[in-house]
Symmetry: C2
Subunit: 212 residues, 2 copies
């Protein structure tokens, strides 16, 4: 009755130990390659090699290159948006926003590959994102924008355009992951790690911006 040959059913819940291990290895290798070469620039062979598998073996776990990419994007999106979710309407406005800035900047330092994979994707118009931006990102942002509007109305932070405030947090923090080469080249050898200085700069910037 069941005539299909594709073995690993749903990637979300791997069965055996081997499957779990290889799944993880593949996704990690894929993250490496996709983030540094982009979707088109990445080859299945390279990902397989990075994962320590043969190409057919990789294709045994993920039917296509796109499936891998998609699995990555959807898995990472949650992680990626998490800092914004934790923005607490009950907290102190300035601290909350500064906390968000710090978390995002930390993610740029700790997870630059994740940042770049999204940058690559969005840069090219999000051909693999489908309507994810509209159905996942936008509602979340809309929700938090309302929170910020409330803070502004209560006079607890300065009047700023809430959407552009969020855009500015994204761009300022992700810049250090996405354009890492440029940042390091311009800064030169002095101060090999740009992040401590960046944090000081961004905290000062947003403090001045938000203080009424």
């Amino acid at each position: 009755m069941n005539s299909e040959k594709s073995p690993p059913r749903i990637p979300s819940e791997p069965r055996t130990r081997i499957q779990r291990r290889n799944h993880k290895a593949i996704l990690d290798a894929a993250l490496d390659v996709f983030s540094s070469k982009g979707f088109r620039g990445a080859t299945v062979d390279e990902i397989a090699q990075a994962a320590g598998l043969s190409k057919p073996n990789l294709l045994y776990y993920f039917p296509t290159k796109e499936a891998m990419h998609l699995a990555l994007l959807s898995t990472l999106l949650d992680v990626w948006l998490d800092p914004l979710r934790t923005l607490d309407p009950q907290g102190d406005p300035v601290s909350e926003i500064l906390g968000y800035v710090r978390r995002k900047l930390e993610m740029s330092r700790e997870m630059p590959r994740e940042s770049r994979i999204f940058a690559n994707e969005v840069l090219q118009g999000g051909p693999h994102l489908g309507d994810t931006l509209g159905t996942v990102l936008k509602p979340l942002v809309d929700e938090k924008v309302e929170v910020i509007r409330g803070w502004i109305a209560a006079g607890r932070i300065a009047e700023v355009h809430p959407y552009h405030l969020i855009f500015s947090i994204w761009s300022l923090t992700q810049h250090y992951a996405d354009f890492d080469v440029q940042v390091r080249t311009v800064l030169g050898d002095e101060g090999a790690d740009p992040f401590p200085e960046a944090e000081r700069y961004l905290v000062a910037l947003f403090t001045k911006l938000l203080t009424p």
Copy 2:
């Protein structure tokens, strides 16, 4: 004596009318395709078609795909850095920097393809840029950083880390070109053009940041 067959010598100074016309058409088409698909994602055929030429005919003008890309990058870099060059040490500090922000933002609106082509390139570590960042970009930035340091020392603007100030101008302005899809999706239908609002936001931001 001259046994080579490649006809168009130096692209920088085209001879005939036809050559000039096709050169322009090719570079424009290449800008279109490279900026929307990335280097690897772009195909010579697609560029040729966009330029209204056959593939072999395109290859008659540019020997390789890389040559096209390189010609584009080096041509555009000057344009791209021009706003920074015009930062005038003699001018009023805040106005000069705000002027720079406005010019960069305008470039994001008027030349998003150029912004994206650089973003794509830098994102992947600048494999086609060679040492351009170190030899062209860095010296210019270093020079302007000195100007900013002078302004700070004179107490004419607030104390900010000059390098990160420049990074923040880049990221905040280019964000609207590079992540256009995201910006428009999040903003939704209301306010189809994000730029006027963006300008107001950025001017306010940098004014607050720089005013001592």
